[in-house]
């Protein structure tokens, strides 16, 4: 009897412990957005940020850049901290008229001196942007609302670089105050100011009521660190978090999650096109490999069932890519769609015999990244190749080792791809196809080809947007004619949110969220 009474008493005491997660949200909770991320941000300020997605997204919301891409197409630039700008005819001088009356979150005024300070600081401290920021020859403060940046070479894509989180403008007063600790106390002009960060736990941002575009509707954003994907999903379904980004484009397939969450009326699924390109690339600088003959490359390109890949493996969560640029790029050439190889195994076999190559003599090691997504793609490609008589063995390799063998050309064909870290065709094309850069990254390893190389460099340096677009269209056609690879897919950006989250802007390159206009019903 005593035992029973004791148990009953214990249960009564324990009851409040089991009140768990409240499902209906209080007013305070409706003004707070909880975002699930897989790990801590690495760097919260432009001076040290090396384009890792979490830190970059926080920077985008705590700081502002001079210019930004206009939602929802992201094909045109608009002024943020800059009102308007001019580019000199030679493409080397960028003159920005800055917005007046903007303040940093610490109350100090934003002006041209702050722009000069920020960009020069980032140039000195951030090794990641060295290649592009080294082009800056001089930054001149013309007046408190006008700044002129001079480059040593013409580089029109510089405007895209200025839209990146690494180019965000920091408060010089805060840098002076915090010194080395500025990364732990970032201060910018953005819609949310940094409140606190707990290691491996969360980052808290608070609304900046004096934001120059208008105060945000939310009062707080909490980034919760939840490393396990199934836990993130459970938290989303139970209302513990409001936003989850499909982060794992390199390693996970979203299709299963989408199917399961489509029937959940508390969850909204936002799909956006990305600029990520994944391809089966050939080692184009290898003169004696099986793919040195263009007919063999064309055969492989015709052997792939592109639509089958998109529906069968991706279940609609990826889109077709036809060439070196995705269809949502402002420089995309619509002619590429017609030039793209169609799935035609019979034609593939004919091309092989035309080339005088017996497919059974090709023993291909098909290299790829690790992870279930790449494994599924590799298996699909392997099957397609088997249909035209080519035997391929799949070699999924851990990333650093994979990069090592790819950059020295120890392969014939490999599954690879690029997520451009700035929104310009230059980000895909120059590094991917310029022969002089073949060994410096994971590229198509194009052989020296003066016509193509000159065309790529000219397109990079031409100032007039229309002329540049025409040149890039030429570049795309020239590249596709050479069949450097089979362009397979572009994964969509998929963001899962609670149904009551509105106004989310999902950038495409790189894929980061802007929360200024977000509210919860």
């Amino acid at each position: 009897m005593k035992l029973l009474k004791g148990l009953a008493a214990a249960a009564l005491v324990a009851l409040p412990i089991f009140s768990g997660s409240a499902h209906a949200q209080s007013d305070e909770q409706l003004k707070t957005l909880v975002v699930a991320v897989p790990s801590d941000p690495v760097s919260l300020e432009p001076g040290t940020n090396k384009a890792e997605p979490i830190g970059s997204e926080i920077i985008l919301n705590v700081f502002d850049t001079l210019v930004a891409w206009t939602a929802p197409d992201f094909k045109q630039l608009e002024g943020r901290l800059a009102n308007n700008w001019t580019v000199s005819a030679d493409g080397k001088e960028f003159d920005f008229k800055l917005r007046d009356g903007v303040k940093f979150q610490d109350g100090t005024p934003f002006d041209a001196a702050a722009v000069k300070f920020s960009l020069e600081r980032t140039k000195a401290t951030n090794s990641y942007v060295k290649a592009t920021f080294d082009l800056i020859k001089d930054i001149a403060v013309v007046s408190p609302t006008e700044v002129k940046i001079t480059l040593s070479e013409p580089y029109p894509a510089f405007l895209s670089i200025l839209a990146q989180p690494q180019s965000a403008i920091v408060s010089p007063a805060a840098v002076a105050k915090y010194g080395d600790k500025f990364a732990a106390n970032p201060v910018g002009t953005g819609p949310f100011s940094f409140k606190s960060a707990q290691a491996d736990t969360n980052v808290v941002l608070e609304a900046n009521p004096d934001y120059f575009r208008g105060a945000p509707k939310l009062s707080r954003i909490i980034y919760r660190v939840i490393p396990d994907a199934s836990t993130r999903r459970l938290e989303l379904e139970s209302g513990g978090v409001d936003v989850v980004q499909q982060q794992g484009q390199l390693s996970a397939i979203a299709a299963e999650d989408i199917e399961a969450l489509k029937s959940n009326k508390d969850v909204k699924i936002i799909e956006a096109s990305s600029q990520i390109i994944r391809q089966l690339e050939f080692n184009n600088s290898k003169k004696d490999g099986p793919f040195a003959n263009i007919k063999v490359r064309e055969a492989v390109a015709h052997a792939i069932d592109y639509d089958g890949l998109l529906t069968g493996v991706f279940g609609g969560t990826a889109e077709r890519v036809y060439g070196p640029l995705t269809s949502n790029s402002w420089a995309f050439d619509p002619k590429i769609k017609d030039m793209a190889p169609a799935y035609d195994p019979e034609l593939a076999k004919n091309l092989l015999s035309e080339a005088g190559v017996d497919p059974s003599t090709i023993n291909l090691k098909l290299y790829s990244f690790q992870g279930p997504l790449w494994g599924a793609v590799a298996t699909f490609v392997q099957a397609n190749l088997a249909d035209i008589g080519i035997t391929a063995t799949i070699e999924q390799t851990e990333f650093p080792a994979y990069r090592a063998l790819q950059t020295v050309g120890q392969f014939d064909a490999a599954l690879d791809g690029r997520q451009p870290w700035y929104n310009d065709p230059d980000a895909h094309i120059t590094i991917g196809y310029l022969s002089s850069l073949a060994d410096t990254a994971m590229t198509f390893r194009m052989p020296q080809d003066k016509a193509l190389d000159d065309l790529i460099l000219k397109a990079q340096q031409t100032v007039d947007m229309d002329a540049r677009k025409a040149l890039y269209q030429q570049v795309q056609e020239e590249i596709v004619k050479r069949v450097p690879g089979a362009y397979l897919f572009s994964p969509k950006l998929i963001v899962f949110t609670r149904a009551n989250v509105e106004g989310l802007v999902v950038n495409s390159a790189p894929p980061l969220n802007e929360y200024w206009g977000v509210s919860k019903k």
Binding site: I17, V42, A131, S230, G240, F399, P400
Partner: protein, 336 residues
């Protein structure tokens, strides 16, 4: 006893030196450059080289080792390659979370496991004994992550009784004092924080305690059965001592010694951080920290956390040995 402890502490030093040399070299044999891993597939060689130089990775091995040891002697565990923050500070931020979880898990496991073991031993081959055998088997065989997911699904998503993950509700602002969440809540009078911390502790503790409780239960049962068959037990019963006294003071006390070793080893293991449990419950502990560091090839963090584990492990075994001395007069005599 004091000299025994002192001798063991001095023996720590060569052990730590060996651990240091091994981990320092091994970690650099793992294929994969930290700069390459940190920057990802899109990086150019120029970006990678610039980062390598910035992180002092291009120095020759002996120089890197000497720099590291020099730092260690001054209490500096180096700087994390990923975050640029001092490793010692980062470890201290995460250690309390793991200690909190491990201590609670051991307490729960002991409270559940030992009584079950005793009851099974006093009723051998009964229904209770068979039932606990089955439950123990399940507890030992079930993978931690499966149990974790099931608990999250049942208690978190379906019933909504307990939070799915994390250490504290994100809506509660709590001042960290000691780093132990419940303690901090109590010290600062923030009862909402203490309650939230307790709620969040329940599921991860259950997962960690399950395995240990199951193991302990069987272990204590088997050891006790052996001990209960000894002559001195028959003598005690013959002397007319109460049944409870015989079981606890004579039976259990003699069976506890091996159990303490198991508990000690398991505790040290848990302090190493239950990586899977910490990952699934988004618990900001040291196991997950080390795991991420290995993925990122963050050498100073891998070295620092390994050294800390080695230290904790050696300390725990010293404590276990001292406990043996306290509980067993025969061991005490040998120590002198």
């Amino acid at each position: 006893m004091a000299t025994f402890i002192l001798r063991r502490l001095i023996a720590l030093i060569p052990v730590m030196c060996i651990v240091l040399v091994i981990v320092f070299s091994l970690v650099r044999f793992i294929p994969g450059d930290p700069a390459v891993t940190l920057l990802g597939p899109g990086a150019t060689q120029a970006q990678i080289d610039a980062l390598r130089a910035q992180l002092d990775l291009d120095q020759p091995f002996p120089i890197q080792f000497l720099n590291y040891v020099g730092g260690l002697l001054q209490g500096d565990f180096g700087i994390s390659l990923k975050t640029g923050q001092p490793v010692a500070h980062e470890i201290l931020l995460r250690l309390p979370a793991t200690i909190e979880l491990s201590v609670l898990a051991v307490i729960v496991a002991v409270i559940i496991g030992i009584p079950i073991g005793v009851l099974s031993a006093t009723r051998p081959n009964s229904v209770f004994d068979h039932a606990t055998r089955v439950v123990s088997l399940v507890g030992v065989s079930m993978p931690a992550f499966l149990l974790a997911l099931i608990l999250q699904l049942v208690f978190g998503t379906y019933l909504g009784w307990l939070p799915v993950s994390g250490r504290m509700s994100s809506f509660i602002v709590a001042e960290p004092v000691t780093g132990f969440a419940i303690l901090d809540g109590v010290i600062t009078g923030n009862w909402a924080a203490a309650l939230s911390a307790l709620q969040h502790l329940i599921l991860p503790t259950a997962v960690l305690a399950a395995f240990l409780a199951a193991t302990l239960g069987r272990f204590v049962r088997n050891t006790m059965l052996e001990v209960m068959g000894e002559d001195f037990i028959r003598t005690a019963k013959a002397k007319g001592l109460r049944r409870g006294d015989v079981i606890i003071h004579h039976g259990l006390r003699n069976s506890l010694l091996p159990a303490i070793t198991v508990i000690g080893l398991k505790f040290a293991e848990m302090l190493g951080g239950a990586i899977l449990t910490e990952t699934i419950f988004a618990w900001p502990g040291i196991g997950r920290y080390m795991f991420e560091a290995i993925k990122n090839r963050d050498y100073p963090v891998i070295q620092g956390t390994t050294l800390v584990f080695a230290l904790l492990f050696v300390f725990t075994s010293i404590v276990v040995d001292v406990l043996h001395g306290v509980l067993d007069p025969r061991v005490r005599k040998k120590m002198k």
